[in-house]
């Protein structure tokens, strides 16, 4: 499989505070990479760098053959290849579900309204929300909002989708419905980078686990099951222990 996303020597700092140091990562098409790590380890910042929400101070991000170097400001092209789903959904509150979904495809990609609506309804149907198409975001539950946000990102046909702790603001029952949606996405061959604290989900969905700590990749393994039983590094072991209650 070909390499879709490649990050080399990525460096990010806020003033004198270095949050990501020399990150190297490459993701193949169709791969699901789950990033875990303690709070403040830089994993969310890493995702934000990937689609240009944070300026990087060093390194190169290449998506589908399109490189973006540090200091470059025009990243709209890159962004169209990368979708992102946020922890707080960030649907547009003044637009209905359907309008939220078709806004960018019609305005950015200049697709016809009929075409965008048709695909939007198909995708909404897949996540079981087609009857909510004329609702406003405030009339939906958190889980429903997050599924709409996923559909909204999907309709742009991104090469990679980034998920930034998308279930962290949800009630436990709603976490399940969102994770189900993501698992079926993963099965359909989407390339995904997921930051999460749901370890069970990470185990189920990941092709590869990346453990971040203090702005650095500490452990990286494709042997997902083994990682959760017997991680190689002491730091990962300590981190995983915090999820176990005895």
């Amino acid at each position: 499989m070909s390499e879709l996303l490649k990050v080399t020597h990525l460096h990010k700092e806020f003033g004198s505070n270095v949050v990501l140091k020399d990150i190297n990562l490459s993701v193949k098409k169709g791969e699901v990479v789950v990033i875990i790590g303690p709070s403040g380890c830089g994993k969310s910042t890493f995702l934000r760098c990937l689609n240009g929400l944070e300026e990087i101070q060093g390194g190169v991000i290449t998506v589908d053959g399109l490189p973006v170097e540090a200091g470059k400001r025009d990243i709209t092209k890159l962004r169209q290849k990368i979708g992102m789903v946020f922890q707080s959904y960030e649907l547009f509150p003044h637009k209905t579900v359907l309008e939220n979904i078709i806004l960018a495809p019609t305005k950015v990609q200049k697709r016809t309204r009929e075409d965008a609506v048709k695909e939007a309804l198909e995708l909404l149907d897949k996540v079981g929300l087609v009857d909510k198409k004329d609702y406003y975001p405030r009339q939906l539950s958190g889980g429903q909002k997050q599924r709409v946000a996923i559909v909204r990102a999907l309709l742009m046909h991104p090469e990679v989708i980034l998920f930034d702790e998308v279930t962290a603001a949800l009630d436990p029952e709603m976490v399940h419905e969102v994770l189900e949606t993501m698992i079926s996405l993963a099965k359909s061959g989407s390339t995904m980078l997921i930051v999460t604290h749901e370890m069970g989900f990470a185990k189920a969905v990941a092709d590869r686990i990346i453990f971040f700590d203090k702005g650095d990749i500490v452990e990286e393994t494709a042997d997902v099951k083994e990682f959760f039983i017997q991680p190689k590094t002491e730091r990962a072991r300590k981190f995983l222990k915090t999820f176990a209650y005895e």
């Binding site: 240009g52 946020f86 547009f92 509150p93 003044h94 806004l103 305005k107 950015v108």
Partner: protein
Amino acid sequence: MDKDILIEYLPLYKDALFLTMKIGWQGILLAFVIGLVGSAILYFKVRVVKNILGVYIEVFRNTPLLVQLFFIYFALPKVGVQISAEACGVLGLGLLGGAYMIETFRSGVEAIPIIQSESAASLGMSHFQILWHVILPQAISISVPGILANVIFLLKETSVFSTISLMDLMFTAKDLIGMYAKTIECLFLLVVFYLIMLLPISIIGAVVERRMRYGQFGD
């Protein structure tokens, strides 16, 4: 109060009302445009222009409309700029209102979390598309109460137009009192006509507010 006098004066007040509304609404439209453009400049943090805008806002907010009108009507011709009294009224009201509208829009724009722009940006939208489709619609609906207050305030401010000999409501009332001394009737009609002009705005405004804000805030 003499009923016949009221009826006799009615057409004069009606004409004055039309003139007041005409200038008033043109001025408000200008103020609205200045507000939109100005808040966009502040949003994009356009260098230098942003600072000039700051000076403009402070000058026009902190001087009375009467002074601004005198300046436009009496001082500008001295440097060779001659415009009609009506245009003066529109310009004065528009510039004063513009300063208020920019600040009102700004409060709306700043009420919207940055992550809303980020989520729009992550969908590949340009700065302008984000402002137009995501930020401004939300900002305006947040600012509706403030905008309405500005509209009513600006229409009332038209009462100083009489000083540059525009025959607005105030001018008509003062003129008639001066000529015929029917003070009670004239003032009564003046109050009634201001209410005729302004009350519907409050009522229509409440309806507009409910409709514009439905998406974000519900009923």
